[in-house]
């Protein structure tokens, strides 16, 4: 039995997760259905959405906030940060604009998270 905290939403349910000999994963303590896939992923391939910024020219700020469009394997967080260092964008940018497609072959895109 493994204890973990669900991070899908701010509620932070305490999950008890049990991996049975046949490979089945049993999840208890989840307040909603989203807790089950989270616990399974966390046990097999933990993923996170990465949020950061990239350099922007001509905007009202010097940095444009961005995120990965979906969660990516958490071991790649620092590799994504390295990729973000390489790019520079020019204002105007619309929220949702794809800045890097399929980053590091994860299937996730880097998208702008505001208009600037």
């Amino acid at each position: 039995m493994i204890e973990m905290i669900c991070i899908v939403c701010p509620k932070g349910c305490r999950l008890s997760v049990d991996q049975r000999p046949d490979g089945d994963i049993l999840v208890m303590g989840n307040g909603c259905n989203r807790g089950i896939p989270y616990a399974k992923k966390e046990l097999t391939n933990p993923t996170r959405v990465v949020t950061s910024t990239v350099k922007i020219n001509g905007g009202i700020h010097k940095r444009l906030p961005v995120k990965t469009s979906t969660d990516i394997p958490k071991g790649l967080n620092f590799a994504v940060m390295k990729e973000l260092e390489k790019i520079e964008v020019n204002a105007p940018i619309k929220v949702g604009t794809v800045l890097i497609k399929n980053i590091l072959d994860t299937g996730a895109d880097i998208v702008a998270t505001r208009n600037m």
């Binding site: 973990m4 905290i5 669900c6 991070i7 899908v8 939403c9 701010p10 932070g12 305490r14 996170r48 959405v49 990465v50 949020t51 950061s52 910024t53 350099k55 009202i60 700020h61 010097k62 940095r63 906030p65 995120k67 958490k74 967080n77 620092f78 940060m81 929220v95 998270t113 505001r114 208009n115």
Partner: protein, 422 residues
């Protein structure tokens, strides 16, 4: 120029308030914002986790702000940026806002109603009196967040964070991703005030130690911060001699609490609740001055922006009702009191005539308690409502909703308390 409604502060509370007032039929609305854009602190909160309740999806702070800004752009709500409000007057039917900006100079603006949504600010080193030298490299966590996420300055390389509120936890991850080494997150209390999910995804993911029941007892550094001394504390929060450890660092981030920003409120003679440091409000989010409403972190510090928006919406609807003369001036006021192990309640007063179906009360508990009943009793001590909770903590705002029929049993006052399960 006379407006129906002036909203002070264009963060999440003010945006939601203006939008809801507009939707409820108010024509001339003006938002006054001191920053160069709308959105408030959401603009620097680039992490995700916002909007789970309001939009049923997980957004970053700037995305959440963008939603509201775009909703407002389809209305005729006006706003002035780079505009600092100096004072408000509470003079009866017509209220006056004095403000300045660089384009128009000194402004005197009249309105029928005002909504206060100025938010809060961070407690500083001065507020918690850490002894030691006064080098550079000591920031409040939110200031560092703005430098890194918006202005493009990295504030340091070796970091210690004091306080484990959400901003501190979020900054621990942010600094780590940007290449800094976060040595520890130091928390005075035996528990963290941050959300559990942030302890997992901000500290545990990056193996950052969380030192509970510890505090910083010395700051060392002539020009730039060189080290901090961390000590364990006893049950009375006094440092225990002999437990000192020195952590080398060039940066100290303080995440030690937020204080509602109410200088304008106080100067207008509006009553402040000593427990929340925000204005006293009634069921309509109206202060003790008729026609002046308040919402969001200026009233009490929230955990989630979703609830700030909800409260802003409520203030906006109430202001619309006030302007349309639809608020019933209740003869009888029911006081909401905080009983044992409850630190405050919002609202602090209700007028039953203005509640159509139910009223929700928000409150914070004084410590971590396991398996307790949240109870509501009337002025004679009769139990009106009871909710059992497996665990409550000061870090999470609690809510309890009472139906009108339950509220009618108050007989003058309602006391919200935590009681033992018997």
């Amino acid at each position: 120029m006379k407006y129906d409604l002036i909203v002070i502060g264009g963060g999440p509370a003010g945006l939601a308030a203006a939008y809801e007032a507009y939707k409820n039929g108010i024509e001339k609305i003006l938002i006054l914002e001191r920053d160069k854009e709308l959105g408030g602190i959401l603009n620097q909160c680039i992490h995700n986790g916002f909007g789970v309740h309001s939009f049923n999806e997980e957004l970053t702070g700037p995305e959440y702000a963008t939603r509201y800004i775009e909703m407002l752009s389809s209305t005729n709500v006006e706003y002035k940026l780079d505009t600092m409000v100096l004072s408000i007057s509470n003079g009866g039917e017509v209220k006056t806002v004095e403000a300045i900006n660089t384009n128009e100079g000194y402004l005197t603006l009249d309105a029928s109603a005002i909504i206060l949504s100025m938010g809060c600010r961070e407690r500083t080193r001065g507020a918690i009196q850490i002894p030691g030298e006064r080098p550079s490299g000591i920031f409040t966590a939110g200031t560092a967040q703005r430098y890194i996420n918006m202005e493009g300055y990295m504030v340091g390389k070796k970091v210690v964070i004091l306080g484990s509120g959400d901003i501190g936890l979020i900054m621990a991850r942010r600094m780590t991703l940007e290449g800094a080494e976060v040595k520890a997150c130091v928390e005075l209390m035996p528990y963290s005030n941050g959300l559990n999910r942030n302890i997992v995804q901000c500290l545990n993911d990056y193996n950052i130690p969380l030192l509970l029941s510890h505090t910083i007892t010395q700051i060392i550094g002539k020009h730039r911060l060189e080290a901090v001394v961390v000590s364990e504390v006893d049950n009375d929060k006094n440092p225990i001699p002999g437990t000192e450890q020195t952590l080398e660092c060039d940066t100290l981030l303080l995440s030690v609490g937020l204080i509602p920003e109410n200088e304008i409120t106080k100067n207008a003679g509006i009553d402040i609740d000593r427990r929340t440091s925000g204005p006293l409000v009634n069921e309509a989010m109206e202060t003790n001055v008729k026609g002046i409403f308040a919402c969001g972190n200026v009233v009490h510090v929230h955990d989630l922006v979703d609830f700030v928006s909800e409260e802003g919406g409520k203030a906006g609807r109430s202001a619309a009702k006030y302007i349309q003369h639809l608020i019933v001036e209740g003869q009888e006021v029911t006081e909401i009191k905080n009983g044992s192990r409850v630190n405050y309640t919002v609202p602090q007063q209700i007028r039953l005539e203005n509640i159509s179906e139910a009223q929700e009360f928000m409150f914070r508990v004084s410590n971590v308690f396991k398996d307790v009943n949240i109870t509501v009793r009337n002025s004679e001590g009769d139990l009106i409502k009871k909710l059992r909770r497996p665990v409550v903590t000061p870090g999470e705002m609690e809510k309890i909703k009472l139906k009108k029929a339950e509220l009618e049993q108050a007989k003058g006052s309602l006391t919200i308390a935590l009681e033992e399960v018997v």
